[in-house]
């Protein structure tokens, strides 16, 4: 064969070869739609991150959906009380797979200053969390950094991960 290994083949001039999994991860990571859901002052920073100065839309995450059925990401921005916990659980259950959760700020991460009877000490007692962002409240840069970490996680995830927990649960 006369074709060298360094020279592209005829097809490779107009074709890109990749894995299906990688394409799906890329498309998921670059169009993560969060659900419009703010609980406390962290939501103000989340709104600032979505507005023009910080422009969350650069990462494909600027479309805050008003229903969990169209959203991929839930940003828990604020204090989670025991009265709110079943609501959060319901919203999370209503989100279609694949779905991710960011716990934003010290309240959603670990209860924050509210070591008290009404506050859940971390939203991970209610729903699984992918990225924890410290800060009280975190600046929009922190949220964007945490979101980029989530994008990294999505890019390195596998299609089989989704079924792992389920099969382990059934046995």
């Amino acid at each position: 064969m006369g074709m060298s290994i360094n020279q592209p083949s005829t097809f490779e001039h107009f074709l890109i070869t990749t894995k299906v999994e990688k394409v799906m991860n890329w498309s998921r990571a670059t169009s993560v739609w969060p659900v419009t859901f703010g609980l406390a002052c962290c939501a103000i920073e989340m709104m600032a991150a979505g507005a023009s100065r910080f422009d969350f839309d650069r990462f494909g995450a600027g479309i805050f959906r008003a229903t969990p059925r169209q959203a991929d990401l839930m940003i828990i921005a604020g204090t989670v009380t025991y009265k709110m916990a079943p609501v959060i659980k319901t919203l999370y259950d209503q989100m279609p797979e694949p779905k991710w959760v960011i716990a934003m700020g010290s309240c959603a991460t670990a209860g924050g200053p509210f070591d008290s009877y009404h506050t859940i000490q971390g939203v991970d007692k209610v729903i699984p969390v992918d990225v924890f962002i410290p800060g009280c409240p975190p600046r929009p840069e922190s949220l964007i950094y945490g979101f980029m970490k989530l994008q990294d996680k999505i890019m390195t995830s596998s299609l089989a991960d989704r079924y792992k927990d389920i099969f382990e649960e059934v046995g």
Partner: protein, 295 residues
């Protein structure tokens, strides 16, 4: 030469307690879990203030009498021993306080509104006083509905608005457990007035909803936080805490971290959701996870 360590000795065999991870927080030993009940009743009241002043003056007088008696005995003793007489005692003058830093004390009522209330309600008023220019009227707990109606409808009073309604727990008090305070505002006359009742545990005061409809949620909050039920309230349910909450959080005997609500887990598979999803997904992949039928 060092002694060889025998693993069978009780010191060595007793395994040290596994240290809890730094992420494990012992709620039972938490200082927030401990209850410290207050010893005093910090309820502003003219009667209490006057009684306290009288008791302090009596204590001062007793101290002075004792100092004089001590001086007399010391003098007699010195004369008997032929020594110099001791210095006579000097009565301590109370130091002048900086009035700016002092809490305003309750004073006798002079405002026309309070006098009108006393004239109209008679012996149903337990106490009236002014403190820092604010009017306080304590009425009998059975007469609060009548007093509120009077405050709103009487032309001389004309308090149109119930700005706030609040409750406080006083566990150290003997003849009552809670105070319920009604903060009234007269917009037309630009005045404010506090009505107060003292209720024991289990007493059901009359609801103010029929007079001031805005009292609805405030009374629900008082019920939620302190456990005072109000009679003839349209919807006497919890407003802030979840419906199945145990206890009343603003009582002083309620621990700050709560009574075991910390241990609630929401992530357990209550409805069998995980199993249902697993069966569904496995079916999509062509795997039959269902148990074979007995037939």
């Amino acid at each position: 030469m060092a002694e060889p360590i025998d693993p069978q000795t009780p010191e060595a065999s007793a395994a040290p307690e596994a240290p809890a991870g730094p992420y494990v927080y012992d709620y039972a030993a938490s200082p927030q879990r401990q209850i410290v009940l207050p010893k005093t009743v910090p309820l502003p009241s003219l009667k209490t203030y006057l009684a306290e002043q009288k008791a302090a003056a009596a204590a001062d007088e007793a101290k002075w009498v004792k100092m004089q008696a001590d001086f007399e005995s010391a003098k007699a003793k010195a004369e008997a021993e032929g020594k110099d007489a001791p210095k006579p005692p000097v009565r301590p003058v109370p130091r002048k306080d900086d009035n700016d830093l002092k809490t305003p004390v309750p004073q006798a009522a002079q405002d026309a509104d309070l006098l009108t209330l006393v004239a109209l309600l008679g012996d149903k008023v337990e106490e009236i006083f002014e403190q820092a220019g604010e009017l306080v009227c304590q009425v009998k707990k059975e007469a609060i509905f009548e007093a509120l109606k009077l405050c709103r409808d009487e032309a001389a009073l004309n308090y149109e608005m119930l700005a706030d309604e609040s409750g406080t727990h006083y566990p150290a008090a003997t003849d009552f457990a809670f105070s319920v305070v009604y903060h009234l505002t007269s917009i037309s006359r630009r005045k404010r007035l506090r009505l107060r009742i003292l209720v024991p545990e289990g007493f059901v005061p009359e609801s103010a909803c029929a007079i001031y409809p805005g009292a609805n949620w405030m009374e629900r909050e008082i019920y939620d936080m302190l456990g005072i039920r109000f009679a003839n309230h349209p919807d006497m349910t919890r407003i802030l805490c979840p419906e199945d909450w145990e206890g009343y959080p603003l009582r002083k005997d309620y621990p700050v971290v709560g009574w075991g609500q910390r241990d609630i887990t929401f992530r357990e598979d209550r409805g069998g959701m995980i199993e249902r999803i697993a069966l569904q997904k496995a079916g999509q992949l062509g795997i039959n996870l269902k148990q074979p039928k007995a037939e």
